[in-house]
Symmetry: C2
Subunit: 217 residues, 2 copies
DNA sequence: CACCCGTATGTTGTATACAACATACGCACC
DNA sequence: GGTGCGTATGTTGTATACAACATACGGGTG
């Protein structure tokens, strides 16, 4: 078993959280798996205390189901859940794209431009493994301009839940090309200050995601 | 200090979570207050371990700010934050009201009717202290029909953040009358299967909340 | 043979003890 | 007198040990 030997630079609880989150997203931990605290703690080379912090955070974010006095469960995936998550995302992303465009200053536009340039480079270099990260970065950089930290946090919750689904299809290079092209289109509307168009393109961007998923679930 | 002496029926971490959440909502714990784990644990008559679970959950839900190796902070309130939270709520509640109405069966309508009846009784009996609870129950009962658990959870995050603001004005009996009247109107549209109208009334319901807040912040 | 209850086993929940880190203070040096 | 570093203090982070609860198994009883 490929237990990461690297000791954490920060708090173990944060490190464990990110590790477990990744395992859940890529399916190393799936629905029905037994989440035994002692075994997990041993595998991660930490004690149960920081592990429990990580688990409790994942539970409050919806990736795990908390059942008092019983083992935690990895939340099941389903087509209904994907539809649910994507519908919620659409509502919030449309709002955030609109406000972000309305409120963006020149430094905001530059920030998003830089993030998009990085993603474009990664695609050109064929670095598929960064795609989920780059995608998240682009939207985060853009929505930062909206100055809506609470709404953005609510969106982040839904985005996190959708990452397991995104993982299902983002390995296909063609999808990455589509995605980055759409990002460029959204960015153009954003930079031009056309909020309605940025929102419309964002809605379409999210919608295409669920459409692809419908063919896979 | 009125430390509740009642021992928890369930896990202490859950009890502490609810206790602290309430203290934050009603302002007994406010921005700038020192959240010292040892003192809080002593006050709640529990050890630091369950307390830390409660704190970490509140932090991941946005009521507290987590700064590694430093005391947690109660998240500040501001007019900008209220605008943010209410804008996000509007987007999600409109979506949920629409879907709830579309998907509701007769048993769903009956459930919401019962909840609304309870609230109406409480108002008539002058039990103001239940108002926040009843308000939450009504919307939860209705949105349950939407069968969108993830989107609903994202909304709950925003609703939780708004409860501190709601607390500012919900003590006024006149507001309660308005609120329950609006609930009846929303319920009528919901029961009639008129999703567009239910959504419109819901949007107005939320909007009135932020409008009242603008006069107070 | 079916059902129920007591017990054994294992897992989660909590407390206590210790280690690591951050901050503030004071002393020395410039 | 001001600045910087070392140390003291206090708080958070983690580990270990124990208690409480849930489940599964087995013996007893109808």
């Amino acid at each position: 078993m490929s237990t990461p030997a690297a000791p954490p630079t920060w708090r173990k609880q944060d490190w464990a959280y990110e590790q477990l989150r990744e395992w859940i997203i890529v399916g190393r931990l799936g629905y029905g798996d037994r989440l035994d605290e002692a075994s997990l703690a041993e595998e991660l080379r930490i004690s149960r205390i920081p592990l429990r912090h990580a688990l409790s955070r994942l539970a409050s974010e919806g990736l795990l189901i908390d059942r008092p006095h019983r083992s935690l469960l990895v939340a099941p995936m389903s087509r209904e859940d994907a539809e649910d998550v994507y519908a919620g995302r659409t509502a919030l992303e449309v709002l955030l794209a609109t406000r972000a465009t309305e409120r963006a200053g020149t430094e905001d536009v530059e920030r998003v431009r830089r993030v998009l340039a990085v993603q474009t480079e990664h695609i050109a270099a064929g670095r598929l493994e960064d795609s989920r990260h780059d995608d998240r970065n682009f939207h985060a950089a853009m929505y930062e301009s909206a100055r809506m930290t609470s709404t953005f946090a609510a969106l982040q919750r839904l985005r996190l839940l959708s990452e397991r689904y995104i993982h299902l299809y983002l390995k296909q290079p063609a999808r990455l090309q589509d995605s980055v092209q759409q990002h460029h289109a959204i960015f153009d509307a954003f930079a031009a200050g056309d909020g309605a168009r940025a929102a419309q393109l964002t809605e379409r961007h999210v919608t295409e995601g669920i459409e692809v998923l419908r063919t896979l679930l």
